[in-house]
């Protein structure tokens, strides 16, 4: 018990010192080809809103996979919420991921279940009592603007609505970090802005938000921290920055 408390304190200290996300000289090489990430360092503090931008093949997806502990770094250290991901055992990964909400370009909803079940699923995983799930799901659905759609099948929803369901699912367990991988990639401009405003609201409530995107318009209009990647390295990292076209 004392050991667990010590670990928790150590993690808190790491977060205070280095942020909720901390990459220290991280490289990732696949078995073939040049390294996807080459000696990158990055620190993201609690409650920040950060855009990660870059061309296809710049290493953004690899970075997200490292943060989700889908991959492990070839060298260097990756810390998320004070966890050294290289030391995390396979068995500990599910519990670790519950700290992170994640949304994808293709929404990744359970298509054979309705909206309510998709969102409730995230709570069932953490063994939330049924009565609490019944209270929480309508509340979060109302927050993302889907109060009346809880019975709908996901394939009956528009792209924007599906992304809102994904957001609701990502947020229902109050994660410290929200990773959004191209969240507007499949949406029209109007819906994209609605989703971005939602992400901003989520950030304002204290959640650290990391958005990987290609959308120059959105990045330039929102004036947030922008980390630009190219060929596996971070080429710029600016507060209130813009989408820099390196070409």
């Amino acid at each position: 018990m004392a050991n667990k408390e010590q670990l928790r304190k150590k993690r808190e200290q790491l977060i205070e010192e280095n942020g909720v996300i901390f990459l220290d000289n991280v490289s990732k090489a696949y078995s073939t080809g040049s390294p996807a990430l080459n000696n990158i360092s990055l620190s993201i503090g609690r409650g920040e809103f950060v855009f990660i931008v870059g061309e296809t093949g710049s290493g953004k997806s690899t970075l997200i996979k490292l943060l989700l502990r889908e991959l492990t770094a070839t060298s260097g250290s990756v810390y998320v919420m004070g966890h050294d991901l290289a030391r995390l055992k396979r068995k500990q990964v599910p519990k670790f991921r519950r700290n992170i909400g994640v949304v994808f370009q293709d929404f990744r909803l359970l298509n054979n279940r309705n909206v309510y079940e998709n969102v409730a699923f995230a709570q069932r995983i953490v063994e939330t009592p049924n009565a609490e799930i019944r209270r929480n799901v309508p509340t979060i659905l109302a927050t993302v603007g889907l109060a009346g759609k809880y019975k709908a099948k996901t394939n009956q929803l528009s792209g924007g609505e599906q992304q809102r369901v994904a957001l609701a699912r990502a947020l229902i367990n109050n994660p410290a970090i929200l990773l959004a991988d191209e969240p507007t990639g499949n949406l029209d401009p109007k819906t994209s802005w609605e989703i971005m405003r939602l992400l901003e609201e989520i950030n304002e409530s204290g959640t650290t938000v990391v958005v990987v995107t290609h959308s120059r318009e959105i990045v330039n209009a929102m004036h947030k921290r922008v980390v630009t990647m190219k060929k596996g390295v971070i080429v710029s990292d600016e507060e209130g920055g813009e989408y820099i076209d390196e070409d």
Binding site: L68, E70, P94, K95, F96, R97, R98, V102, R108, L109, L110, N112, R113, F121, A122, R124, I125, V126, E127, P129, N130, R169
Partner: protein, 314 residues
């Protein structure tokens, strides 16, 4: 784990069957087809074996003993006086034979009974021609076997008993029957192994394909933070239920078909049923039911466990 989580995973296992009804239907159909073929073949082999065994049960060898000079002057082959068995010794030998594992039944036939049985077909006048029993001293044991392949070993043993004069038997019948028995055993074993292997391959492939098309679903669950157990349990339960349904359907079909076949053959081919009777339904299903259910549920379980494991590494 909380009871509500356990109940949820069980509920999901059942719900998955209906959510993925086409996959469930295809899996059940594959399992049913495989186990139906297996069941039909097993029923045929079991009946064939039982017929051969019944024929075997009818095979008997006869043990004759030394005796003093017969009433019509026949002289028994040379023997010493102590080789002539007393009534007690004859009974003792009978008990010894009955205790042998390859022996199913021993019947004592006295010399009087032997003559009566012999002369019966020729009528009383024929028997009257002989004032004395021509078979006097030919007391014998009819020994029935439960395994004809052991006949020669039994004959060797019987011939080693000092009181035994001669053992009459048909080596050809025993050899033919035990050869047929061996052939059936090998052929049926071979076909059953092939059928089972094909069934296992087809069923596990169907289960694997069904799960693979839902690998995205497994990925999503893992990204959200579901444990391996939470992801796997409903799939495994689903696989086992599909396996169970896939086993019960052919069992029901074979039950009805077998019952109908028995009625048809017994009604239409009465002569056939005089020579041999088919195994009762209970005897066939005593083996077929647990084997089919074990194969169906077992493959459903193993197939889903191994396939889900492949997709859990996210």
């Amino acid at each position: 784990m909380k009871i509500s989580t356990l109940l949820y995973t069980i509920k999901q296992g059942f719900a998955n069957i209906f959510r993925n009804k086409w996959y469930s239907l295809a899996s059940v159909a594959t399992i049913s087809a495989c186990l139906f073929l297996f069941g039909v073949f097993y029923s045929l082999v079991a009946n064939f074996r039982s017929i051969v065994m019944r024929v075997e049960e009818g095979v008997a060898l006869t043990v004759f003993f030394h005796y003093e000079e017969g009433p019509i002057g026949d002289k028994c082959e040379s023997h010493t006086p102590d080789q002539i068995p007393t009534d007690e010794r004859l009974e003792e030998i009978g008990q010894m034979i009955a205790k042998r594992p390859e022996v199913s039944k021993v019947v004592f036939v006295s010399d009087e009974q032997a003559w009566k049985d012999f002369s019966k077909p020729y009528g009383e006048e024929y028997a009257d021609v002989f004032p004395e029993n021509p078979l006097a001293g030919e007391n014998n044991y009819e020994v029935y076997l439960n395994d004809v392949s052991m006949q020669s070993a039994l004959v060797t043993w019987l011939e080693s008993i000092p009181e035994v004069r001669v053992v009459r038997y048909s080596a050809l019948t025993a050899d033919t029957l035990s050869g047929a028995n061996l052939l059936i055993a090998y052929v049926s074993l071979g076909i059953i192994v092939i059928l089972l292997a094909v069934s296992i391959f087809l069923i596990s492939n169907t289960v694997a394909i069904g799960i693979s098309v839902r690998s995205a679903e497994i990925n999503i669950m893992k990204y959200i933070g579901a444990t391996d157990f939470f992801v796997r349990a409903p799939f495994v339960l689903e696989g086992m239920i599909i396996g169970l349904i896939g086993a019960v359907i052919p069992l029901g079909l074979i039950y009805s078909l077998y019952e109908y076949a028995l009625e048809y053959i017994n009604g239409r081919f009465t002569n056939l049923s005089r020579f041999f009777s088919f195994l009762p339904l209970e005897e066939i299903f005593h083996v077929l039911t647990p084997v089919s259910i074990l194969v169906g549920v077992g493959i459903g379980f193993l197939g889903s466990v191994t396939t889900v494991r492949k997709h859990l590494r996210v």
